[in-house]
């Protein structure tokens, strides 16, 4: 390993060991949720809304969680025709293996549910993962196509 890499690794370890500022973490988590919801509503699924195939609602929710405590955030509800509702619900800003999770599910349909997991890449960037099951082989990078594919399956 080159010296630069070793020094960078040391620096990273040192940063990780610093006491986490949970208040700052909480704000970043809340912003991450909003960003994801906005991406879905205003970018990925905007066409569906404009064509009257989806209606978006943002519903305020209160959360009390380990480490980050109490906060207000929002759930995204997507209403499809024929009384079908898709819910994107924040679960926790901290989770095992990842840096926060949301549930995405079809309301009233027991097993139509996936986890959407946040992976912090650096201070400026998150990566979102969609997990269909506990098995790592069922974890994919979240994008428009993956989300569409899941909804399509659920509607079959």
């Amino acid at each position: 390993m080159a010296l630069k890499q070793k020094l960078e690794k040391l620096k990273k370890l040192s940063e990780q060991n610093k006491q986490l500022d949970w208040d700052a973490y909480k704000e970043i988590w809340k912003n991450s949720i909003s960003e994801l919801q906005n991406t879905i509503m205003n970018k990925w699924f905007q066409d569906y809304e404009e064509n009257g195939l989806m209606i978006f609602s943002i519903v305020p929710v209160r959360r009390i969680e380990p480490y980050i405590g109490e906060y207000l955030t929002t759930t995204l509800e997507i209403t499809l025709t024929n009384n079908k509702f898709l819910i994107l619900e924040p679960v926790s800003g901290v989770s095992s293996e990842y840096d926060g999770k949301l549930d995405f599910y079809m309301s009233g349909n027991v097993y139509k549910r996936v986890s959407i997991l946040r992976k912090i890449v650096n201070d400026q960037k998150n990566e979102w993962i969609i997990a269909r099951s506990f098995d790592q082989k069922d974890h994919y990078k979240l994008d428009k196509e993956q989300l569409e594919k899941i909804i399509e399956e659920w509607l079959q």
Partner: protein, 184 residues
């Protein structure tokens, strides 16, 4: 349906899988007919959650969630009962072996049996005890399940939840494998 070898765990898993199955079937009927909810809730709750489709479905979602969480706790408590019974039996046996066979200078100590730890009373203690006896993958799953149980049982306040929840069948299978490896 998965095969569970340990009888206690198998019985509980079968009860829970049946409850899950009943709930799943009933909730399917709420879809498209919100008033079906009134047939399954206690009489006093009739028409409370069934007036709007969205409310009825949200109530159904919470039934599923609550049932799942109760099942996780139930499976873990059964597992604890089984492993603690085995631990106590093993401790008793080892204590007698030490008492009967310890040569000098160990015999010098009247309290020689206490060199064995018979005071483990938490699952974390058992995990510490077995961590070199079971495969790493299985150990990680067991630790995750313990944290998941704690997350639910302690009011979702002091432990992070699992990123992805395991299905009941997978939980039962994992716990059964741990028991099998301990026995092996």
């Amino acid at each position: 349906m998965v095969t569970i070898n340990n009888q206690d765990l198998r019985d509980v898993y079968h009860y829970l899988a049946t409850i899950e199955n009943v709930i799943q079937k009933e909730i399917k009927l709420i879809n498209g007919n919100k008033f079906h909810l009134d047939k399954i809730v206690p009489e006093q709750l009739a028409k409370v959650y069934s007036q709007k489709e969205k409310t009825a479905l949200a109530f159904a979602d919470q039934i599923v969630r609550t049932s799942y969480e109760s099942s996780v706790v139930s499976l873990m408590s059964t597992f604890e009962r089984v492993v603690f019974a085995k631990y106590k039996t093993t401790f008793g046996t080892l204590k007698n072996v030490v008492k009967d066979n310890s040569p000098n200078p160990m015999d010098y100590y009247k309290s020689r049996e206490n060199f064995l730890n018979g005071n483990i009373d938490k699952l974390s203690g058992i995990i510490y005890l077995i961590e070199r006896q079971i495969s790493n993958g299985l150990l990680q799953k067991l630790k995750l399940l313990k944290d998941h149980r704690n997350y639910i049982a302690h009011g979702k306040r002091d432990v992070a939840p699992p990123a992805v929840e395991m299905k009941l069948a997978d939980i039962a299978k994992t716990l059964d494998e741990v028991i099998r490896e301990i026995e092996g």
